[in-house]
Amino acid sequence: MPFMEFVNFYLMPGIVLGSIYALGAVGITLVFGILRFAHLAHGDLATLGAFAALGVVTIFGVSPWVALPVAMIFCAFMAIGIDKVFYDYLSERPKIIVVMSSLGIALMLRALVQVIWGVDTETYTRGIVRPENYWGIRIRDREIYTIIAMFAIVGVLWVFLQKTKWGKAMRAMSDNPDLALLSGVDNRKVTMLTWAIVGILCAASGFFLGINTELKPLMGWTMLLPMFAATILGGVGRVEGAVVGGLIVGIVEETSVLLIPGEYKAAMAFAILLLILLVRPTGLLKGKVL
């Protein structure tokens, strides 16, 4: 097979898909690291973000790119609200209770999307977009934006976590909550901030999934398992690990059809996860052992 064909039809789609996974996995890894539970409503929150952007597009007739920030803010408030109304009361309970609660939230969010927007398959813009040709690499503009946006969002988040006071507080909570509390970190504010960031990341991953394919009420739920695989692959609690994990899962899924039948493509995320866990139980970048 010619090298360019491999790049165009296997590698590039894998990177685009991986970027979408990465945005979701970064959010999951934050919840995992700071709040210490597996957030099963993550996919459906992403669906809500994607449909919120669609709502903005259809009501105001603006470009989907304008709608993205609106959806991000909306999802940030949704995430904070869900935490205040539901998760917050369970924070002193075993974490498995919160995990079950997030499963219930997933069902509720999905029902909400189906009632408000219906169940039809939707797109932000009608018609098809043929890829541009850049020195032999065939890629659509929206795919370039997806990759750039992923790195930009994660980059900003990384700087925030490293340089700002609140970012440091979040990292402290992630590393050692008892010590963080003793050193005067405000637990409630850190939790709120975490949910706001998680909501923004959810909206972004849902939006980019929607703009690259279609919007369906189950779109986020079906992405949940690969996103979790990416999180663990990269090492729990590691933002840069989630990016690496997401990209690996995306690329492996897309290139796997070269070796195995197409119907087993969906199993690839887990096959590689099991392999990594056997060799490095803490993930690629050293994450937490929960």
């Binding site: 169940v119 398959t121 279609e214 059809v257």
Partner: protein, 399 residues
């Protein structure tokens, strides 16, 4: 002890909630995959079934002026919820006939553990699995959609006649997709065609470009897609068109979806055709389309014709059986066996008069003539449709 509590609680909640349901004259259950993987397909199918019932009620009702009331149940496209919903419809709502479930796995489970033991007739508008043919159903299970086998074979023969000798096949890995793909492949190769790529895919992934690249490496310029046009089929067709993997695209009835035209645009679909069931020598489809558009629906939605037929047939059979649930299944065969005066979709009044006069009637459905065989299956007759304006137009009939 716990069992008793559970039982008592179940009884209590059921009585409390069901007792205020409206007292209906004749109840028919509509069981669909409303939540779950085919959520996008279910609502138009249910609306279509309801249209048939509405026409019956508007044209004088059933059994001497009674009204038919529909009760909707959700199978969520899995056997667990399907059996649960069917049990409620049959036992609590006391329906006399069941339209659905939509997914084959639910049809098998519901027929085996609810409707056949309870002696209730079931017509599924979209369960295409060949396993339904072999059900030990005491003649109580019917379907208005042909088994995948018929369609796959007639599509294969037609493509060969049209001069397409080499194709690649992408199919959804469920009963619908794999059933069609298997029969298509067998017939296509037996008649000298070449399958240059043959691959199943899972539902709901974001990218299928590598699958498509793999398929196109076989050198075929026609891609046959056995999938749903408002689900993964749309994603596949979009990504294939955008990247120019193939020049011609062929779908089956699942791809004859308004979502394809709406989302991809007519101008991009000049090389796209789909096969879909159509009656042989009747205007049934046109009559149905007109009525369905008038009711605010889009007749290009998937399985709406077979859903309409299932409901209308059920009503005809009930009328013929005089409301006796035990006679419904033989009546379903009797009102659509190819003998007697032709009844088109919506001709309820005429049918009632003929039945009252003791004459035979033969329902000519929107999705085909519906002459049931012993297993409750219908042989399909198909047409090839192309995109014309914002709708699908019949290009030619298949044999």
């Amino acid at each position: 002890m716990l069992k008793k509590i559970a039982l008592a609680a179940g009884l209590f909640s059921a009585t409390a909630l069901a007792s205020n349901a409206a007292q209906a004259d004749v109840k028919i259950g509509l069981l669909g995959g409303i939540s779950g993987p085919i959520a996008a397909m279910a609502p138009p199918m249910l609306v279509s079934s309801k249209l048939a019932i509405q026409q019956v009620n508007e044209q004088g009702g059933i059994l001497g002026g009674q009204k038919i009331v529909t009760v909707v149940g959700d199978s969520a496209c899995n056997p667990q919820n399907g059996v649960d919903a069917a049990t409620k419809l049959v036992n609590i709502e006391q329906v006399v006939g069941l339209i659905g479930p939509h997914c084959s796995g639910s049809v098998l489970a519901v027929a085996n553990s609810v409707t056949v033991p309870a002696g209730i007739a079931l017509i599924t508008p979209s369960g295409t699995s060949p396993e339904i043919t072999g059900l030990e159903d005491k003649g109580l299970v019917f379907r208005t959609v042909p088994s995948d086998d018929f369609q796959g074979r007639s599509l294969a023969r037609t493509l060969l006649e049209l001069g397409t000798k080499k194709v690649a096949v992408a199919y959804l890995n469920n009963d619908y997709g794999s059933g069609l793909a298997n029969s298509f492949k067998a017939e296509f190769e037996a008649n000298g065609g070449e399958i240059a790529g043959y691959s199943a895919h899972e539902d709901g992934k974001a990218s299928y470009r590598s699958n498509l690249a793999e398929l196109s490496r076989g050198g075929a310029d026609t891609l046959v897609i056995f999938d749903y046009g408002d689900g993964t089929g749309l994603t596949i067709l979009r990504q294939a068109l955008e990247n120019g993997f193939f020049t011609n695209y062929v779908g089956a009835d699942g791809m004859k979806s308004d979502a394809i035209i709406r989302e991809l645009g007519t101008e991009n679909l000049t090389t796209f055709v789909t096969s879909s069931p159509v009656g042989e020598k009747s205007d049934s489809l046109a009559v149905f389309n007109k009525a369905y558009i008038a009711a605010g629906g889009n007749p290009d939605a998937i399985f709406v014709t077979s859903s309409y037929d299932a409901a209308f047939l059920m009503a005809l059979a009930l009328e013929k059986a005089g409301g006796d649930a035990a006679k419904v299944s033989e009546s379903i065969v009797a009102v659509s066996n190819g003998q007697g005066e032709a009844i088109l979709p919506g001709e309820w009044k005429k049918a009632v008069e003929l039945i009252a006069a003791g004459k035979d009637i033969d329902y000519k459905g929107a999705a085909g003539d519906l002459n049931f065989d012993r297993a409750g299956d219908v042989p399909g007759s198909y047409g090839l449709f192309k995109v014309d304006g914002d709708t699908f137009a019949l290009q030619q009939t298949l044999n």
